[in-house]
């Protein structure tokens, strides 16, 4: 009773917000429609700003940064509404989840500095996070070198993450090493954040978050082994814990692969069946993403409300916005429906 009362406002909000999500059939139907017809069907889906901008531009492709930012701002608006209704550690977990975008900005700044790009160039590539901004972007952009950026980050909520980055940078003056250290620390921090939840909440959240971590680990592993040709031990070390199907024993085995087709036989059936037809890392990524969306959609249909519903909504919304982004881009570039479906990971 108390729990119902505790989440009453959040539950109402998620129920209303869920109406903004498209089911599989609705989304597939969109692929075959011209953009002029798609836009009216997306009314009342919280995308008014994007529709207005596209209409004003007479269905011309907006600059890449603008388009990305428009979709992200939709997600951030939803996240802000959800976070506002939470307090304490629950609020902290959601804020930490949104901080992934700040982590992306940190990586952009670090890369920009290592490539000696101008401040303006780097600034144009940063993701504006509005109310969620905590990075002193100007100060970081004015730093002389990577070491100084990491020192400055130690004065932000990214202090512990940056400290590990600094250590890695001291060892090997390489941005890739810092980025992997930052990723590693981010997910270690996320696992730490989740530990404060009750066992029941953790068990509800774990399948969804675990699937996201599985996807992240598998894609990283494939890139490290097949693209960067890192050693099995090195590739394994750079992965993070907390996966749902892919535990450390399976990841150790997976780290030995040298070709993509070796992968399928080593994976548990639950994942193996999802990606058995995939011929590239990108396809693996899209297939797993589709599974995550599907799982998040199922969670939203669960009758007993929990914090996980809010998390599932955010995950679903983020992934679907990303698919819509790809769809719009494809339509505006006049790609064929098949090409668009392929890019989104759907098959017509």
């Amino acid at each position: 009773m108390l729990k119902i009362a505790h989440y009453a406002y959040l539950q109402t909000m998620i129920t209303i917000f869920s109406k903004r999500l498209l089911n599989y059939a609705e989304f597939s139907a969109l692929i075959q429609q011209p953009i002029e017809e798609i836009l009216p069907t997306l009314k009342n889906k919280g995308l008014d700003n994007i529709i207005q901008k596209l209409t004003q531009s007479h269905f011309k492709l907006l600059p890449a940064g603008n388009m990305d930012n428009l979709f992200l701002s939709v997600l951030l608006d939803d996240a802000r509404s959800i976070i506002r209704s939470l307090s304490g550690y629950e609020r902290d977990i959601f804020i930490y989840w949104i901080r992934r975008f700040e982590l992306k900005n940190i990586k952009t700044i670090l890369r920009g500095k290592s490539l000696q790009r101008s401040k303006e160039e780097v600034l144009a590539e940063l993701t504006p996070l509005g109310h969620f901004t905590i990075l002193p972007v100007d100060v970081l952009l004015n730093a002389d070198n990577i070491a100084e950026i990491l020192t400055l980050l130690e004065k932000t909520p990214f202090a512990s993450i940056a400290r590990y980055g600094s250590k890695s940078f001291e060892q090997k003056q390489d941005v890739f090493t810092i980025e992997t250290a930052l990723n590693h620390q981010y997910y270690t921090g996320l696992n730490k954040q989740l530990r404060v939840l009750s066992d029941e909440e953790q068990s509800l959240l774990q399948p969804l978050l675990g699937r996201i971590i599985d996807q992240t680990n598998l894609i990283w592993l494939l890139r490290y082994r097949l693209c960067y040709h890192l050693s099995p031990s090195h590739s394994y070390f750079l992965l993070v814990s907390g996966g749902y199907y892919l535990n450390s024993k399976i990841l150790v085995q997976l780290s030995q692969i040298t070709k993509l087709d070796q992968l399928y036989s080593m994976l548990p059936n639950e994942i193996g069946s999802l990606i058995k037809h995939c011929e590239s890392i990108h396809q693996v990524e899209l297939s797993l993403e589709k599974d995550i969306i599907q799982y998040a959609g199922n969670m939203l249909k669960e009758s007993v409300f929990s914090l996980t519903h809010a998390f599932a909504y955010l995950v679903f919304r983020e992934k679907q916005l990303s698919q819509l982004h790809a769809l719009f881009k494809g339509k505006l570039l006049h790609l064929s429906d098949n090409e668009i479906a392929f890019a989104i990971g759907d098959s017509l």
Binding site: Q185, S231, S233, F237
Partner: protein, 635 residues
């Protein structure tokens, strides 16, 4: 003793035989009233090669003596008992002996440095050994380069341990933690040697390699006991060294003290030799002496110099006043206030000495701004308790403490309590407007008084025009008093044409005076004169307003007390008293310091800047004190 001036000084010239110069230097220094001066007439001066050599030997010897007395912690005696001259040969002997002593001391010092270095490196090894203390193997094994085995020691962040262990397992390596700290762990990694396959992995894991020092070639426990033995050995050597040091101190103490005496006696001549004039066997020594001490100087020269000495003395010429030292003979208790005055600058020879005025006004204003019987009593108590340790500041704190107590009774304030003591006159918080008016009145009196002093200074220096027309002269004073009078009449709504006239006349005089002083085209002169005159009015206005801070701080003290009691009321009984005590301590230290600085600011910027040129220099007589030995600077 002149209360508001330097003592009257005499410029004296002493003519004597060259042989008598060393003894004359000593007795003049011993008198403590002779400030040597270079003669003004350069053409009569001959090069004094004897003096140059003497001063060089003196400085070298003093440098050696300084090093020895510092190393052996020998404090010189306070006073010289026997006045004897130190000639060049004797000074050379002292220098040679001090060189020998320093040679022994420096060797000893070097030994100590080596021992300290040994001890430091040993302690460093101890801290390194800490990294390996939990390993149960012969550390020499970790120094070997095995043919098939790859063994590494290092530190990694704690959060990486389990994943690194698993990752290394893929490569057939084994990881073991032997020391765990807050954020990191010391690990040993071993495996079959392959082409440095794990290096990239270790780099990603922020692995910091640890190298086993050469000294560690046994089991950690054995290494520890070996190091402990070495440490004991070094500590024994250090204690022997300390004993040797005390022996050295005993052995050389008397010689060092005697050398210090010799140097003290040599110093006056080393100083004077640079300033004296010589012509054949005749020398001339010039300097400043207070008029009251002239008989003393004549007397001691007569007593100690066998040959005749001609003493010529005269008053300083008006044009010499700028070069004449100011001798401010003030009682001991006034010295801390005098230090604050001279910190701004020394008064010129004929200039008004503001020490007394500064003391009285500083003490008065401090009490007005920080009136609290309890806090004042604490300052008085503190000054009495620390009198032995800091005697030179005792009277300062005593005076401001008493003033604070006095005004505490006037305001009825004790330890921030405003209602325990009945106020003898008024409580600032209850009469804020009156306090502000009083502060302005005090400021006006302060400025008027200092303007009068300024006029006096102009007249003393025969600057009649400045005394009449300057903004700090009679015209300025008339303008300021007229302005005050007019504002007063305006507040009573009785402003008359007489008031207007009283302001306009001095303003016109000042404007014309500025016009005469300025140069350039008429329009430029008009503008300069206009703005200069306008600036005078603004300066007088802002100076007077500045004194509002006297009342502001008195009110601030009461306001802080209210804040303190409001805070205390929110706490329980124990907390209440803790807040009261800590709050009072806070007020005493922080507000007390701020008030002290604010009063000083008022004195310096609203007071001294109005009349005090502070371009003089203080009378610095030669002294015969072994404790004040320092190298004489050659010009």
């Amino acid at each position: 003793m002149s209360l508001f001036h330097s003592e009257t000084m005499r410029y004296i010239s002493l003519f004597m035989r060259f042989d008598d110069a060393p003894m004359a230097s000593i007795v003049l220094a011993e008198s403590g009233f002779f400030d040597p001066s270079r003669a003004s007439s350069e053409d009569e001066r001959f090069p004094d090669s004897q003096g140059v050599v003497y001063r060089r030997i003196f400085n070298n010897t003093l440098s050696e003596w300084g090093k020895i007395s510092q190393y052996l912690s020998i404090t010189p005696v306070e006073k010289i008992n026997k006045l004897i001259t130190i000639n060049k040969h004797r000074l050379l002997n002292v220098e040679s002996r001090l060189n020998e002593i320093w040679s022994t001391c420096s060797e000893h010092k070097e030994n100590k440095r080596k021992l300290d270095e040994e001890l430091n490196s040993l302690m460093h090894l101890f801290s390194l050994l800490d990294h390996f203390r939990n390993l149960d193997i012969d550390l020499s094994m970790l120094q070997q380069d095995f043919k098939f085995l790859d063994v590494r020691l290092g530190i990694i962040p704690l959060s990486y341990i389990s994943r690194l262990k698993e990752a290394l397992g893929i490569e057939g390596y084994y990881l073991s933690v032997y020391v765990q700290e807050k954020d990191s762990a010391h690990v040993i990694i071993a495996g079959v040697k392959k082409n440095n396959a794990i290096q990239a992995l270790l780099d990603s894991a922020s692995f910091q390699s640890l190298h086993v020092p050469r000294e560690f070639h046994q089991h950690p426990k054995t290494v520890y006991s070996t190091l402990a033995k070495k440490k004991k050995n070094i500590l024994e050597k250090i204690s022997i060294h300390e004993f040797e040091w005390s022996m050295l101190q005993q052995r050389f103490k008397q010689e060092v003290l005697d050398s210090g005496d010799s140097l003290t006696l040599a110093k006056p001549y080393a100083i004077l030799s640079e300033k004296m004039l010589r012509k054949g066997q005749l020398i001339q020594i010039n300097g400043w002496v207070p008029l009251s001490k002239m008989p003393l100087i004549c007397d001691i020269l007569d007593k100690h110099i066998a040959n005749p000495v001609i003493i010529e003395s005269r008053e300083p010429e008006p044009e010499e006043h700028a070069k004449t030292p100011s001798y401010l003979l003030r009682p001991q208790w006034l010295q801390p206030f005098l230090k604050l005055v001279t910190n701004y600058g020394a008064p010129g020879y004929r200039e008004f000495d503001p020490s007394w005025f500064f003391t009285l006004s500083y003490v008065l204003m401090f009490g007005l701004m920080f009136g609290d019987a309890g806090h004042g009593a604490c300052i008085v108590g503190g000054s009495l308790l620390t009198k032995k340790k800091w005697p030179e500041y005792s009277s300062f704190f005593l005076a401001i403490g008493l003033s604070s107590m006095f005004f505490g009774f006037i305001y009825g304030s004790v330890f921030s309590y405003e209602h325990i003591l009945p106020s003898l006159w008024l409580s600032p918080m209850e009469h804020p407007m009156l306090m502000l008016k009083l502060a302005l009145l005090w400021g006006a009196c302060f400025i008027v008084l200092l303007n009068i002093v300024s006029i006096y200074n102009y007249l003393s220096n025969s600057q009649l025009k400045e005394a009449i027309f300057n903004s700090r002269g009679i015209t300025g004073l008339l303008l300021y008093t007229a302005l005050l009078w007019s504002i007063f009449e305006l507040s009573r709504e009785q402003f008359s044409s007489l008031n207007l006239l009283s302001v306009i006349i001095p303003l016109m005089v000042m404007f014309i005076s500025q016009w005469i002083k300025s140069s350039g085209p008429a329009a430029e002169r008009f503008l300069v004169s206009l703005f200069e005159t306008y600036d005078v009015i603004i300066a007088y206005f802002s100076n007077t307003i500045s004194f509002l801070r006297v009342a502001a701080f008195a009110l601030n003290h009461s306001a802080l007390a209210i804040a303190l009691f409001t805070l205390a009321a929110t706490a329980n009984e124990a907390g209440h008293w803790a807040v009261i005590i800590l709050g009072n301590l806070f007020i005493l230290l922080l507000e007390g310091a701020i008030v002290a600085i604010q009063v000083l600011r008022l004195e310096y910027y609203e007071g001294f800047s109005r009349f005090f040129t502070a371009e003089g220099y203080l009378f610095k007589p030669m002294e015969l004190s072994p404790q004040k030995l320092k190298i004489t600077e050659s010009s």
